[in-house]
């Protein structure tokens, strides 16, 4: 087992009578590309929302790099190094691609409080912004308003904005949803390469099983708010309970090709 980056202790969440997280004891390791899968309603999104601060924790504890962050507001978690992308594109629509990426870059370096200095003079931030755009392949669109981007490019921007916060731990919520195959391959190659660089640990929530099994080093299967199975892709593929859940409940999910 590697170094734990984030751990949870009996993390629980209920929406009325529906339990979306039940006493979850989770351990995310540094540098291990992890996927979280599970049938619809398994609690994948809830888990990300709890870990990133989107939802208040009802019970249990979250620790990040040894520090308890259970009640920390979102922006403080981001500053510590936890960030996420969204399943439904959630960028700054009227701003240009470069401005979208620049907001987290400036915030991270504490430069967004500068109120009397022209943006054009923030050369370090501009350089960093371009590097991130280059990484996700949007450099040629830098001055395009986000609203004018194609769906695939928007998804790339979504990931780009998350990456620009330079997180230690990055949750990607269905990063390839609605992408065409070419864009999908490009994005996955990107993620693999960034993961190899080692600065960011990726945790991916995906529906597309091709993506999950080709990308991950570790897979966590959630079912009704509990961890059903946790291990290497091979062991998860061979796990009888996983088969049962997917075959019994929602067979289409396992091999479904997402179309949005």
């Amino acid at each position: 087992m590697g170094e734990p980056l984030l751990t949870t202790e009996k993390l629980s969440n209920h929406f009325g009578m529906v339990c979306t997280a039940r006493d979850l004891d989770l351990r995310i390791e540094r540098g291990v590309l992890t996927s979280i899968i599970g049938p619809n309603g398994a609690g994948k999104s809830t888990l990300i929302n709890l870990l990133t601060g989107h939802l208040p924790v009802q019970a249990g504890k979250i620790r990040f790099q040894g520090r308890e962050i259970t009640r920390l507001p979102i922006h403080k978690r981001v500053r510590l190094g936890i960030c996420r992308s969204f399943q439904i594109v959630n960028v700054f629509p009227e701003l240009t691609v470069a401005q979208n990426v620049m907001i987290p870059v400036l915030a991270r370096t504490g430069r967004s409080w500068r109120a009397f200095r022209g943006l054009s003079r923030e050369t370090a931030a501009l350089g960093e912004t371009e590097a991130f755009l280059e990484k996700v392949g949007l450099l040629k669109e830098r001055d395009t308003p986000a609203t004018a981007l194609s769906h695939g490019d928007l998804r790339l921007l979504e990931v780009g904005v998350a990456l620009a916060a330079a997180p230690t731990l990055l949750f990607l919520d269905e990063p390839t949803a609605g992408m065409n195959p070419v864009e999908r391959v490009r994005l996955l190659d990107n993620i693999r390469e960034l993961a190899r660089e080692g600065r960011t640990t990726f945790v991916v929530v995906e529906h597309d099983m091709d993506v999950v099994f080709s990308l991950s080093e570790r897979i966590i299967v959630l079912h009704r708010g509990e961890i059903l199975c946790d291990g290497t892709p091979e062991s998860v593929r061979a796990d009888a309970r996983v088969r049962e859940v997917y075959l019994g409940d929602d067979v289409s999910d396992l091999f479904r090709y997402r179309e949005e």
């Binding site: 981001v78 969204f86 701003l95």
Partner: protein
Amino acid sequence: MKAETRNACAAAAVLLALCAVPFLVGKFTIYLAIRIMLLGIFAVGYNLLLGQTGLLSFGHGAFYAAGAYGLGFFGLHVSGNPLLGVAAGVAVAVLLAVLVGYLCVRHTEIYFAMLTLAFGMMVFSLIWNAREITGGDDGLIGIMRSPVSFFGLFQIPIGTDRQFYYLVLAFFALSVWAAHRIRQSPFGLALAGIRENARRSEFAGVPVRRYRLAVFALSGAFAGLAGSLETLLESNARPFMAHWTHSAEPVLVSLLGGLSSLAGPLVGSAIFVAMREIIQRFTENWMLGFGIVLLVIIMGFRGGVMGTLSGLFRKPSAREEG
């Protein structure tokens, strides 16, 4: 780059023209020009909140009044120095804005708007009722326009409206320049991000509430500046400066001129003051006439007067299809 140079030239030309105004027109027009600039200071600061950050406040009259009464009390009890008085007025306005803002910025949209309205009207009734201190409905009267002096080094009289005009022009130019710098800064970008998507801003590491509070206080400072200058102009501070109808003025002029540009609220201020003056010649019910004009502009000019004009001047090739 080209657009920047063009804007700088336009700004310089307008400033030159404003410098020449007192030599070209009569007393009353000078007075109107001062009123336009005061409303312009108020609105250009207010638009940092509304246009840049996307927060609609109906309580900024309170900070205007705080600036006015701040200068008034300072002038009556401490020192008649107008620069110190303006500084005092702005300080009081910022203090009040931080206090009110702290309680308001945890809410957004209609809740934020209603809270600011409530606090604004609280300030109004406080001023209205605390007769012994504020003069109640009479306002604070007898505030003098002493000469501007700087540690006794020099003295510039501002007694006549023509002289006072240049003081207001100086503050006006400073305010517009400051608002311009803020809009172009990293801080301004963070504010735009909050307007576009507050939740995502948090996930970009921006402490959204603190930024909202900062820009709220900042716009309060502009309001306080305008209020303190109006007290010098009229030699009194009136409770109706804090009334919600006055708080609505920067909203109206921002809509009139256009929310998305720096010049929008300024153009809107000019239209507002000029139109009120013209319509009042014909009818007591100037709000009725003004309402109709506002209706036409909001329905006919998308993005305000400036938004429509810049759309006209943009090259057809740059215009987007669909």
